[in-house]
Subunit: 317 residues, 2 copies
């Protein structure tokens, strides 16, 4: 059996490489997903996930994470959790519980303490500075406060034929306290079935959840569609429907992987992602919506990567 | 155009009658759903919803509610909210927001205060007594603490052809602080599309969410199935799949209503529900899973209703 892994955004890459290393040595898909997402959570310059994630309107970093086991359908999730180093590990731990497997707010944070998960103040000096700057801009320029909502989502397939999915985010920058999106909602932000495949979402959670997009992509793959066809069909038809019925639509992007290691993505905005297969080393790609409800996918350029590295570490004035 | 309404459990009945009154006078489906669920939330002897709902392991009543507009796909939801009289009204209010439409924990409670929703200590003396008794039993008899998880879910169709769905619960009795189920998760606990129909769920949320059952039932109705066929097909196939893959399964029940006012239910346990149509006055029925993946539905007996009335008001010794 083969192995493979896909993750949302350029930020997924280093973690995905670690996950792929595990998978290539017959590691479990759940371990690959957790290892990969922890790597993203721990890196301080990714400003929408884990440590260094941008805070809510009150300046507090509140995080959401979800995990699903494609063999058993076990689901674990946390929403609005604070001061924990790795929300994905808590979500995975919760997935083993038959009761109380989804926890929100202070209850989620208490679970982390009671079960000896590492507590950490997740607000970096850099994130604090960005927050203070944004607060001023909002008042001075009367801007809409909301900006940035990139979830890391990973789907992995191991050599035993098992699939897992995980997601983690600090959510919408400047969100109201307690706000959650699609990231920790099963079917909306993630879904996986080892007999079919898995999917994960990133973008404006308030709109992704209206379409139950991850469940729908997995369901479509179950009818025999390739992950790419399933992503295109689910995402572009829903984009049209939501524009017609709701009148507006946020940005979002979906990734999918099937039980044979084939992958696909669809997006209504410029979107980078990382993918690795048994045949192909981990690599970063860039996707755009194209004509005829299809997705244009190209390898990332060194120029793009250099500009990204510079941007995420640029001084905050 | 016709009108109709369906709600989970016998407890839905009085609220559904009020909702049907509104609908018969060309009221809006969203108003019918909110009015009906508020009635259930306000009644102190329904022990799994709103005032009088059973508390969590710490003795605090933490509630979840969801609302969806089938015309626009607007979704609002609260999870782990405390000390608010009507969670359904807060969920509906949040559905008008494009950002921050789903709130958890203390953030949700703060939103209620800031927006002038009525605050109320939702713990009744009776619920407190039941909790104390249960605590003792758990210690003395080494019982599993979890028992009772009945969500009120209502789907309504108005004479303008609009469908809405709402859900509300105090969740699993003795749950861990912060635990949430499917009730406030769109696609899992509720879903509606005015061009097709809507569905709502009740039961062990941890298992319902594994199948994204409300989205699936609405999707199946969209392929031309009646609500009854869609419920049977979604619920019984998922029940088998979950038993095979997860090894165990909680109790759950689903109700559905389509855009023509046809309705259906499916359940893996004895399940009561209320339904009203333009042709038929509101009535209570009882459903059981039957052979061949079908559902046996019968009118409720006076005997059952009398025993129920007695049971919900029986002294707590």
């Amino acid at each position: 059996m083969t192995y493979a892994m896909i993750g949302t955004w350029r930020m997924a890459y280093e973690g995905l490489c670690k996950g792929m290393d595990l998978l290539s040595q017959n590691g479990k898909s759940a371990d690959a997903v957790e290892t990969a997402i922890k790597e993203v959570e721990d890196y301080p310059f990714f400003k929408s996930v884990g440590y260094g994630g941008l805070p809510n309107a009150n300046g507090l970093v509140e995080m959401d994470a979800g995990f699903m086991n494609g063999d058993t359908f076990e689901v674990g999730a946390v929403m609005g959790i604070s001061d924990v180093k790795n929300p994905i590990s808590i979500a995975r731990s919760l997935s083993h519980e038959h009761y109380n497997s989804v926890l929100v707010g202070t209850g989620a944070s208490q679970y982390a303490t009671l079960n000896n998960f590492e507590r950490k103040n997740m607000l970096t000096e850099r994130a604090h500075k960005i927050w203070e700057k944004r607060r001023k801009e909002i008042i001075e320029k009367n801007l809409s406060p909301y900006d940035g909502h990139d979830t890391v989502g990973m789907v992995s397939l191991d050599t035993f034929g098992s699939l897992s999915v995980g997601t983690s985010t600090s959510g919408l920058f400047m969100k109201k306290p307690g706000r959650t999106g699609d990231t920790a909602l099963v079917g909306d932000g993630f879904y996986v079935d080892s007999e079919i495949g898995g999917a994960a979402a990133t973008g404006l959670g308030e709109d992704i959840m209206k379409g139950c997009l991850c469940y729908e992509i997995v369901r479509l793959m179950g009818t025999g569609m390739t992950p790419q066809t399933a992503c295109d069909k689910a995402v572009y038809s829903f984009t049209k429907k939501l524009k017609r019925r709701y009148g507006k639509i946020g940005e979002f992007s979906l990734v999918a992987l099937d039980k044979s290691g084939n992958w696909g993505v669809a997006t209504n905005v410029e979107f980078t992602f990382a993918v690795g297969t048994e045949a192909g080393k981990p690599a970063i790609f860039i996707a755009h919506p194209a004509d005829n409800d299809q997705t244009k996918i190209e390898p990332i350029t060194q120029e793009w990567l250099d500009a990204y590295s510079k941007r995420i570490k640029a001084p905050i004035d």
